[in-house]
Structures are given as structure tokens and as C-alpha cells.
Amino acid sequence: MSDETTTRHDGADRARQEAQQRRLDAAWETPKGWRYWSAVNNTEVGVWYTATSFLFFLFAGALALLMRAQLAVPDNGLVSAPLYNQAFTLHGTAMMFLFAVPIFEAVAILLLPTMLAARDLPFPRLSAYGYWCFLIGGIFVCGSIFFNAAPDAGWFMYPPLTTDTRITGIGADVWLLGLSFIEVASIAAAVELIVGVLKCRPPGMRINTIPLYCWYVLIVAGMILFAFPPLIAGDILFELERLAGWPFFDPKRGGDPVLWQHLFWIFGHPEVYIVFLPSIALLAMIIPTFARRPIVGYSWIVLAAVGTGFLSFGLWVHHMFTIGLPAISIGFFSAASTAVAIPTGVQIFVFIATMLAGRVTASTPMLFAAGSLAIFVVGGLTGVMVAIAPFDWQAHDSYFVVAHLHYVLIGGMLLPLFAGAYYYFPLMTARKLSDRLARWVFWLMFAGFNIAFLPMHLSGLRGMPRRIFTYPGGMGLDWLNLASSAGAAIFAAGVLLFTWDAAWGWRRRANAERNPWGAGTLEWLNPLPQPSCGVRSVPGIASRYPLWDDPDLPRRVDEGREYLPDAEEGLRETLVTSVLDAGPIQCLRVPGPSFLPMVAAILTGAVFILTTFHLYWSGLVFGVAALFAILAWLWTGTAMVPEKQAKDVGHGTRLPLYSSGPHSVGWWAMFITMTGDMTAFASLLFAYFYYWTILPVFPPLDAAGAPLGPGLLWPGLALAASLSAWGLMLWARRQNAAGRAGGLRLGLLLSALLAAGSAAAMLMGPWQAGLQPETHSYPAAVWVLLLWAAAHYAAGIVMQLYAVARSLAGKLTREHDIDIQNIVLYWHFAAITGHVTLATVALFPLLA
């Protein structure tokens, strides 16, 4: 080939590449002006999410300073008891629900696609919806303190203090409804992240080569799915007691306040690991980079993450060691609490081993990592101490535990997060944060933290209980508390310095070069600042550290020689791959900017807020509006029928543009969501059987001496109708597969009719039997189970009608059957819920 042809060829190639780049940029362009807020892409939503949760962190920190000011000297009169109680309640609540969990989701939404060289997560509008829910709920909960209406009974909300509306005012409702709303958003994010890790990896990134961060995200999102629903179930019982007087936690009417403690801590303990693991995951990315070698013990990290994920569900009672449980029960939880230290120890030694096997270069992220190790190891060791029940009987609810939990959370969560912030800042802004200021930030935070929290171990053992707004002098607590308060102020100075640098300081610095830390993982593949489309083309991956092992990779990616280098149709596309081996299976079209998620979030938020103020009718109106907003969003943004069956995505690979059933991301999302839903259902069932264990007679006897119950007739009818409705759904799906749209619609409508009949019959049972939920925990438990099942049938009916409309609009056909596949999947879960409920409420009274 002559030089001239090469040049001409190169020229044509460059022109083609530039045209591709232009089309990609146009498809992924961030909206301008006021429409900016309609963005749904992970890079925008991730940044909003991170910034918002950091602001809530600052707010909760300010409350902590208020508390420390009050406790600086004994018998202080600075802060009144009611304000102090609101402050500590909101401090814990905001730190946990508005900072620790959301910041994990925020960072994961931001980082995951870049680590997987994906253009976006599979459900961008869901992320946006989750963000807006979080923002509205967070402002609602935090804002309440400015109206002296904040929750004031601790972030754990123990009844009967909190169910007694004479003692606790609207603050408790703000907590319950505001946070339920945010929990729903958290579960939405978890679903998105699980599907993201499992299905949206770059081709060839097998399960043994995914970045460690993704392993952690997968485990943690799975934990959210099993940890949050029990709390939501608990919230439902709690609100029913507060608003309607159903006595779930009232011992005078067969309830038990301890049930709430179980439901709360089944959530609350895994929660600690839910916030801890993602931060450790950041260290698992940072340490290999600065040790200049791949991680040693990749499999050990998988062991540690999976092991911790499971074991963390066997620890919840260690928050309840002093409620008077038998020693043998305490023993099981004490054993699990000690066992969980094993995977945690493994995690730490994996990092040390990696450093030993590499050549460590000093850097700001490593400084924070080292500080985190020093603090977290203390927290871990005191954690083993409090896992030992006899010691916990002294330490529980004392300042020793306050010290312990802050050592764990600040050492295990906050400092690694700061390390991550310094490490990943260039990815967001193309600039590094100041190393010089970072030293100040670190030493202020590190010294301040230890001055504040080390003395608390001693205050606790000297008898200082938690959650006290004042303490007497002369008990050996004076100097310890003064030191704690001074330390808190120093720590706050460090945080403020960081805030200044992250908000303004960086703007004055020069751009960082590409891959500024010399890392080996894919998130550093893109030029900085990152283009809005993410990667120029999606590379095939053959190693854990592709940037180290394949130096030519950035060039091939930049020149668009890998997968999906173009957006010919001007649409947003990303790849879907198989779970274990990441073989490409679909080219997924993801929806672009829209205000619908924001509108839907505002309407949903209004439902929760209006319910808080007992405005039920207007709440209902907004509920219907929210439903329609969500349906409109689904109609316009999901299961879109493509203009062609398949397209070429590069490397001679042709992928379908539409897939349904287990191949599609939507099916997975439904499956995962319903798994979480089943966990909530299991929690309600647990409540029912829990009453059986604690009450001498359950169900209680009626006047004639027979056990109360909904009888067999109505539940039997409900079961028959429900079985037919379920069968008709399967029939409808078969009709559709055979191309008979009429049969599909007929099946859906008949099934909806039967489902409605079944739901009505379910509720007729206790109604006819005269079970009054305010009188006793038994009828209340029966009603709540049946209402739960009936509500699922109602939601299922909405879906069936939606599917009929989709079929009439030609969006649900034989080839394009995502909707019917997912709705049938939903009905499997709904039917299991209904049938188990009916069997329990109808048959258990006969056995007991």
C-alpha cells in the first residue's frame, strides 16, 4: 500500500470515527438549562445523589456538635431535654438513612458503569426516581426539627414510648413515613445495582475477573433486599398502631414491644455491614493501585464479602442482649457475632498481604486508608468484646457502645469513603483534590476523632448511659466529656476543610492526566474529563486489571474498534451480557432524559407527607396521580418495541434489540424486587407466629370457648378464585405465545375479575367473623396479612389492565412480550403470598 492510500484511508477512518463520536455525544448529551434536572444518566444522578447525601452528613454532624456542646460540662443548660432528644434521634437517623446507605448507592451509581465500561445502568429512570424520593424524604425528615416536630425517641424508635401518641407527637409519624419512603428508594437502587453487576458487564468479563468493588456491590445490594423489607413491614405495623390503634406492640392487648425490636434489628444489624462493606470495597480498589500489583487473595475477598453478608443476618439479637432472653438464645447470637469477626479479619489481612507483596507508594488515599485501619481495628476489637454477652450487659446502652460504633463506622466507613473521595475525585471533575490540604484534613479528623471517642470507652464503663441530655458532675465523667467535645470540634474542622476543597478549592487547579494514579481497572479507561457517553467503545475484557495487562486497550477503545462504537439511530444503548461469563446477549436501549421520574417522586412523596398529617383523602388523590405518573413512565420508557430485530454491535457480533423472559433485565428486576417483597411478607408472617410463641392462648377464644378465626368458607372461596386467576394468567401467556391477542386479552380480563373476587373474599372472612383489629394482636395480625395479600392482588390487577392496554396499543405482541412475561412472574409471587396467607389464617387456628 502506498503512503498516499494509507493517508487517505486514515483520513476516511478519522472522519468516520469523528462522525461516530458526534452521534454518541448527541445521543448521550446532558440536557441544558432548566431541563438539566430531567437528566437520568448515571453521571448526573450519581453526582446529585453523592452531593445530597454529603449535605445530610454535614447536617447530622452539626447536630452532633450541638450534642457535644451540651455535654461538654456537667449539668449544662445550653440545650433543653426535648431539643437534645430530637437532636440525637435525628443525628442517628440522618447518618444511617440519609448518609451511610444513600452514599453507598450514590457512589455505586456513579462508579459501577465506568468500572463495567457500560454506558449507563439498566434502569436510569429508576435511579432518578430513587434520587428524587431520597431528596424529598430527606428534607421532610430533617426539616421537621426546625418546627420542633422532629422524632425524639431515638433512631431505634422503641415502643411503647413511640406508639403512645400522648408522649410522642407527630415526630414519630415523620420518622416512620418519611423513612419508609426513603427505604423504598433504597430497594429500588439495590435492584438496579444487582442487575447492573450481573447483566451489564463488558463482554468477556467473567465472574472471576470482575472488579472487587462489584463483588461487594452485589453482596450489599442483596443484603439490602433482605434487610430493608423487615423494617418496612415493621413500619407498617407501627403506623397501623399509631394511626388506627391496632395493638401490635401493646402488651395489654396481646401485643409485645419486643416484636418491634426484632424487626428493627433484623434490619439494623445487617445495616451496619451494608454501610461498611461498600467502603471496604473502595479500599479494595485503592490498595492494589498503590501497591502496584493485583490484589492478593481475590477469592478470600469473595469469601469475606459473602460470608459477612450471610453472618450479618445472625447478629440482630446482640442489640437485645439485655431484654431478658434465655442465655441459650443469647448464646446463638453471641456465637454468630464472634464468627463474623473471622471474615472481617480476613479482609484486613488481604489488604496487608497485598501491600507486602507489592511496592507501596505513598499517597493521600493511602494515608486515609492507613488511618481507617488504625481506627477500624479498635472498633473491631471492641466489637468482639460487646459480642461477649456478659460484657455487653455492662457495655450495652452506655457510652462504651457509642465509642465502639463510631470506631467501626468512622474507621470502617467514613475514612475509607474519604480515601475513595480523594481517589475518585478526578473521575468526576478531572482534577485532583489538594494533597497539602489533605494532610490537614486527615490529621484534624484523625486526631479529633480519637480525642472525641477514645475517652467515651471509659465514660461508658464509668456508668454513663447513652442518650442522656445531662449528667451530674463529680462522677469521673467531667474531663472525659470535655475532651470528647473538644475532639468533636477538631474533627468537624477537618470535615469543613475537606468540604471547602471539594466544593471550591479544586476549581483552581489544573486538569489531571488520563489515569492519574496509574490504576489497572476500567474506571480509569476514559480520558478526563469523561465524555457524557462514557466509553468511546465497549472493550472485550480478558483480565482483572485490563489497563495494566493490555496497554494497547485505551487506543483501541478510543478509535472505536471495540463494541458499540456508534449510535446510528441516535438512541442510548448499552450491552447486556450473561451472568457467569459475560457473553454478549442483547443491545439494550435505555431511556433518555425525562421529568416523569421527578414528577412521580413528588407525587409519591406527597402521599407519605399527607398521610403523616392524617390528610387521608388528599393522600388518596395524590396516590392515584402518582400511580398514573408511574404508568406513564413505564408506558414511555420500558419494553419499547425496536424498529428492527437486531443490530451489529461490532466485532462481527449481531445482537437482538429486544429480549424478554429470563434474558431481559426487566425480568430480573421483577424477580429481585419480588424477592425483597417476599422478605417483607415473611416478616409479617413472623409477627403472626411470634404472637403464638409469646401468648399462652393463640388464637384467643371467643365467648363460646372456640378459637377465633376467619373461618374456612371465605378463605376457601378466595383460594379457589385465586387459583383460577393464576391459571388464567398462564393460559393468557400461552395464548400470546400462539399469537392470539384476543385470547390474551380475554385471559387477562377474566383473571383480573377473579383476582378482584379473591381479594374481596379474603377480606370478607375476618369481616364476617367479626374480628376487630383494635381489640387484640390476633385479629390485627390476621387483618394485616390479608390486607397485604389483597393489596398485592390489587397491584396485580392494575398490571393486568396495563397489559390489556399495551396489547390494544400493539406494544405487547407475540414477539414483544416483555410485559406479559413480567406480569406472570409477578403473579407467581402474588399467588404464593395469597395462598400462604390463606393457609395460615384459615388453618392455623385449627392446629393451635
Binding site: 431535654a81 439485655t322 453471641s334 479479619g345 507483596a357 507501596v360
Partner: protein, 339 residues
């Protein structure tokens, strides 16, 4: 701001109380070096607190060694070195130091604690005491060994040294937690349940306990005293405590009844038989007032009668500030004679 001012005055009262506590310790209870150890788990005066304090010091020593070892290793790992460790050696470090070592250590610790737990909860002796936590004070009822009518008291507990005493803990309103760090760990008081806690004081002295579970606005102000006595002295005291009030009549008593105090408080030997608030039959024999927060002086009694909610936010007792000062003084003086 007015509210803050009121709290400050309550705070001033609390300082008074601690002065009193220290004075009392020096006069009557030379065992206590001062009040700083009265509520300390590290200054144990009971069987359980002893065992746990010993366990704590051992765990602390081991934890300190482990912390130094891990951090030392990390420091070493971060240093530049000629020859990085081989992958295989690094893997062995994870196996032995990360997995196997901790497993063995934890197993030993766990077994120790599992053996300790049943020993700490062994059955109690013949004396039983019921303690009921209420917002924000403690109702105490002694069941003397060998039967006999129960003896009612409040906000101060007395125990015989060297004897195992079983406490029955309940609550009628919200969850409280009974904690005397110098004697034993805490145990919650939960509505609808009766929990047991066995105390075995090992030396005499005056100790302080507190509510350890958040129970409302005045949670921080819900404390009590525990006086551990020689068994003979305890027996004498218990017999005394069971008798009616020492000064059943007089001007103060008449005013107490006239103003309706008896609707909530009991003073045995007088018509006052209320069950809502603390039993006051032998109020003067208690070291503190308002559930362990004020020294039991006449001035403090007057202050509490006139402004209970300034001292304890959300307390049930209404203020009697509308009464003439003379009447308040007379009631407070009479209460001071109820030995």
C-alpha cells in the same frame, strides 16, 4: 431561653446533691474513696461486676497486643523494600493470621463467655425484690425471706452484702433498664414482661444506678442509690422500713392531706394511700430526692414540690407553686421527719 434558665437551676441542684453524696461517703461509708467510683463498672462491688471487670481487663490486654501487632505489620508492609513478598507467602499470611488465628482466639473467648453466662444467672437467695421502672422513678417492693408482708419503698435500694438477691424487673409504661454498674450488668424493664436479675454485692457501700434505656424527656434524670449493708443491719432496716411513718400527724401532715398529695403518694400510718407516685413513708431515710438527682435537703424538697417539671421535664407530678410559702415549708419539714 427561660427554659434554659430553669434547667440551669436544676443543674445547680444536682451539683448540691453530689456534694452531699461525697460527704455521706466520707462520713458513713469510708469504703468509698469518693463518688467517682459509685457508678463505675471498673470499680466492681458485686459478683457479676467482678467477673465482667476481670474479663474486660483480659480482653483489653489481648486487644491492645493485637492492635499493635496488626498496625505494626501494616506499617512494615507500607515501607519500601527490596524484595516484595512472594504471592504464596502473602497468601499464607491471610490463611494463618486472617483466618485460622482469629478463629482459635474467638473460639476460646466464646466458650469462656458461654460458661460464664449460666453462672451469673444462677438462682437467687430467699430475699426477693420487685423493682418497677416508671417515668421517671423506681417503685421498690421487698419480699422478706420467710414470708411476711411486702415492704414498699421507692428510688433507693438496700441490699445485704454477700447474699444473692433476685430482682424482678417490670414496667407499667415504657421500656426502662435497671443498671447498677458497680454490682452487675443491666437488665431491661419491659411492659408486659417480668425480667429477673440476680445481684450479689461483695462489699458494703453506697452505689448509684441509672436507667439505661431511653425512656422519654427525663431519661437522664432517672437514677437511684443502692446501699449495700451488713446482713444484720439490713434485717433491722427492713423491719423498720415495714413500719408506718414515724410522724403520722402534725401541721405538715394535715397540709399534705388537705392539698391532695395523698391521691398520688402513700404515707403509711396516715390516710394518704395514693399509688401513682413514689411511696413517701420513710422519705427522710433516703439519701436522694427525685429519683437520685437531688440531695435530700429541705430546700430541695420545697423546690421539688413547687416546680417538679423544672427539675424533671415531663414528670407527672403537678407543681404546687400556688400554695403559700409557709405551707410548702411545713410540708417539706414534715417530710423531713419521716425517718
Amino acid at each position: 431561653m427561660a427554659r434554659h434558665g430553669r434547667f440551669r437551676s436544676a443543674g445547680g441542684m444536682m451539683r448540691l446533691k453530689l456534694g452531699g453524696c461525697r460527704g455521706r461517703a466520707l462520713l458513713a461509708l469510708p469504703v468509698l474513696a469518693g463518688c467517682s467510683g459509685a457508678q463505675s463498672a471498673l470499680d466492681p462491688a458485686g459478683f457479676e461486676a467482678d467477673a465482667v471487670a476481670r474479663l474486660f481487663w483480659i480482653m483489653l490486654g489481648a486487644a491492645a497486643l493485637l492492635w499493635v501487632a496488626v498496625l505494626g505489620l501494616a506499617r512494615y508492609a507500607a515501607r519500601p523494600r527490596q524484595e516484595p513478598w512472594r504471592h504464596r507467602s502473602a497468601g499464607r499470611l491471610i490463611l494463618w493470621c486472617g483466618a485460622i488465628g482469629p478463629t482459635l482466639l474467638l473460639c476460646g473467648l466464646l466458650v469462656h463467655s458461654l460458661l460464664l453466662m449460666p453462672a451469673l444467672r444462677a438462682p437467687g437467695g430467699p430475699l426477693r425484690v420487685e423493682v418497677q421502672g416508671e417515668q421517671f422513678w423506681w417503685r421498690v417492693r421487698y419480699h422478706p425471706p420467710g414470708g411476711g408482708p411486702p415492704v414498699e419503698s421507692a428510688n433507693a435500694l438496700r441490699l445485704p452484702v454477700g447474699q444473692r438477691v433476685e430482682l424482678r424487673l417490670t414496667s407499667p409504661d415504657v421500656i426502662h433498664s435497671f443498671w447498677v454498674p458497680a454490682l452487675a450488668g443491666k437488665m431491661d424493664m419491659i411492659p408486659g414482661r417480668t425480667n429477673r436479675l440476680v445481684l450479689e454485692p461483695s462489699r458494703t457501700g453506697l452505689f448509684r444506678g441509672a436507667c439505661a434505656e431511653f425512656c422519654g424527656a427525663s431519661h437522664a434524670l432517672m437514677a437511684f442509690t443502692v446501699e449495700v449493708m451488713e446482713p444484720a443491719a439490713f434485717q433491722r432496716w427492713l423491719a423498720e422500713e415495714g413500719r408506718p411513718a414515724a410522724a403520722p400527724a402534725g401541721e405538715g401532715a394535715a397540709l399534705f392531706l388537705k392539698n391532695g398529695c395523698g391521691a398520688c403518694h402513700t404515707v403509711r400510718g396516715t390516710p394518704a394511700a395514693g399509688r401513682v407516685g413514689p411511696d413517701l413513708t420513710h422519705l427522710a431515710s433516703r439519701p436522694t430526692l427525685g429519683a437520685g438527682i437531688l440531695d435530700n435537703t429541705r430546700a430541695n424538697r420545697e423546690h421539688f414540690i413547687t416546680h417538679p417539671r423544672e427539675i424533671k421535664p415531663s414528670a407527672l407530678m403537678p407543681g404546687f407553686g400556688m400554695l403559700p410559702e409557709g405551707e410548702i415549708a411545713a410540708i417539706a419539714a414534715w417530710l423531713g421527719r419521716l425517718q
